[in-house]
């Protein structure tokens, strides 16, 4: 089994395994050209996965909505480029296309023994997105969970290797849902790459998606176990 089990319900990822799974992950990324790389720190030899990508967002600010806004809250609707407006709406809408640069890092937390997703985002002029803008951009289907406990979900923290402000998706509940995935009826999934399983689950919350081809990645030593 690629991951160590500490008790029936606990599912911890050792740092060595983390590095191995990241290596595998990067190999696949290089094959499909989706931009992930491994960065090693110069002083202590630990490291992290890194990827940068750009997203284009359309800002629609319908005139009537502007009047309804609270004084303090800027209403920003982030919509996809595909959305079409009928003629009556087009006349009143001001559209600004914005390019946002996202940088995603996957680090290992020795305290929780799980991977952690760090990210930062800024406009092309260098202005970083605020925490509020990040919260607003969380995918609609995760907004309920976010509203319940925003301070337990995504906050700004210091990157433990670079020392700069990043946003972080909190790791304390990772063990919970990863245990659910990797035990019980899904025991056969244990031979899979932990990073791929984990990132495909948490990534979409913050706009990070993995190509479906990652689902086919399996560790090289797994010749005897038959995947379901």
């Amino acid at each position: 089994i690629p991951c160590s089990m500490a008790g029936e319900e606990d599912f911890f990822l050792e740092e060595k395994r983390f590095k191995q799974h990241c290596e595998e992950f990067v190999k696949h990324s290089q094959q499909i050209g989706d931009g992930w790389e491994w960065r090693t720190s110069k002083d202590l030899g630990d490291g992290y996965l890194s990827k940068t990508h750009f997203q284009v967002r359309n800002r629609h600010i319908p005139p009537d909505l502007k009047e309804k806004t609270d004084d303090n809250i800027e209403q920003t609707l982030l919509a996809h480029v595909e959305e079409s407006l009928d003629d009556s709406q087009v006349a009143g809408v001001c559209t600004t296309e914005e390019v946002i640069r996202y940088e995603y890092h996957v680090l290992y937390s020795s305290s929780y023994q799980v991977p952690v997703l760090y990210f930062r985002a800024c406009f092309l002029d260098g202005r970083p997105l605020t925490l509020e803008e990040i919260w607003r951009s969380v995918h609609a289907c995760y907004q309920d969970r976010l509203q319940e406990g925003p301070w337990d979900t995504i906050t700004q923290q210091e990157h433990p290797i670079l020392g700069q402000p990043f946003f972080v998706l909190h790791p304390c509940r990772t063990n919970e849902f990863m245990s659910a995935v990797l035990t019980g009826p899904w025991k056969h999934k244990r031979h899979k790459n932990y990073i791929i399983l984990w990132l495909s689950t948490v990534g979409p919350v913050v706009g990070l998606n993995l190509s479906l081809s990652y689902a086919k990645v399996a560790p090289e030593q797994n010749s005897s176990t038959v995947p379901a």
């Binding site: 002083d43 305290s111 925490l131 906050t155 433990p160 290797i161 020392g163 700069q164 402000p165």
Partner: protein
């Protein structure tokens, strides 16, 4: 036993005399006088400087004021580090009072976390406590506590109430009778000269043979450059709460008695003064 409890009080009530001066380029309507304050070592800058903010805002126009931030000799001060750590790391061998410069413009986005409300400080503080308990007790103690207990830890810190804080915190300092200490020690080692903000690793307080690991053992394992070879001169100081504990001190004892309220041992490695 009484001596050990005294250490808890000494740590909690440690203060640093500080002089706050407004940055010269800030635009004021009148001259801004410096503001003097005794800062609690165990707290956070943005939690204890409301009076500083009010004092300087009195001489400034509303439009010139945005998020406050602090700087010492050109280095932006990370509000999310405890005050005592910032002082030990940057200014411990300089003359008192500690001179901090106050800014209201040009927030350094690349260096500092934002702190728009007390909620941010509370979230950060509680996240540190939770991480410390993940190391000490696999999160069992903190998860068994009720929300009101968590609130009491924060209120104790915010209102400088030693008894209120320790009524709950003592549970985070316990361990099963069959063990001789925590599972792992929550610690971070800081050096102002590195790009990496701190070193944090898994470290057990008890060796496999049952002996207590010491501060020296920790440093040898995690940061060997901090302890120079016996024949050489000690070029660095190992500082916690403004003092240099003996390297023979058991790390379990240090964790129980000299952690900050966030339950972490924040250790500074600084150059030894050459006077």
């Amino acid at each position: 036993m009484t001596d050990d409890k005294d250490v808890l009080r000494d740590v909690w009530f440690g203060r640093i005399p500080t002089c706050f001066t407004l940055y010269q380029d800030e635009i004021t309507e009148r001259e801004a006088e410096p503001y003097y304050l005794l800062l609690p070592r165990i707290s956070y800058l943005t939690l204890v400087t409301d009076k500083v903010k009010k004092h300087f805002q009195k001489v400034m126009r509303q439009e010139e004021v945005s998020e406050i931030w602090f700087e010492y000799e050109g280095t932006p001060l990370k509000w999310h580090y405890p005050i005592g750590l910032l002082f030990d790391l940057h200014a411990s061998n300089t003359a008192l009072p500690w001179s901090i410069t106050v800014h209201f413009k040009n927030f350094p986005e690349k260096d500092l976390l934002h702190c728009h409300s007390k909620d941010v400080i509370e979230a950060h503080f509680m996240a540190c406590i939770k991480e410390a308990d993940a190391l000490k007790h696999k999160s069992q103690v903190i998860n068994e506590m009720q929300k009101k207990d968590h609130k009491q830890l924060w209120m104790g810190l915010q209102n400088d109430k030693f008894e209120q804080f320790w009524a709950i915190n003592r549970k985070l300092m316990e361990y099963p009778p069959e063990d001789n200490g925590f599972r792992y020690i929550p610690f971070r080692i800081y050096q102002a000269t590195t790009e990496r903000p701190f070193i944090q690793k898994l470290f057990r307080p008890i060796a496999s043979g049952g002996q207590l690991h010491t501060l020296g053992d920790l440093l040898k394992d995690v940061c060997p450059s901090a302890i120079s070879p016996e024949d050489g001169e000690q070029k660095t100081q190992v500082m916690i709460h403004g003092i240099e504990p003996m390297l023979e001190t058991p790390i379990q004892w240090l964790s129980e008695h000299m952690s900050y309220p966030d339950n972490f041992l924040h250790i500074s490695i600084i150059p030894r003064p050459t006077d």
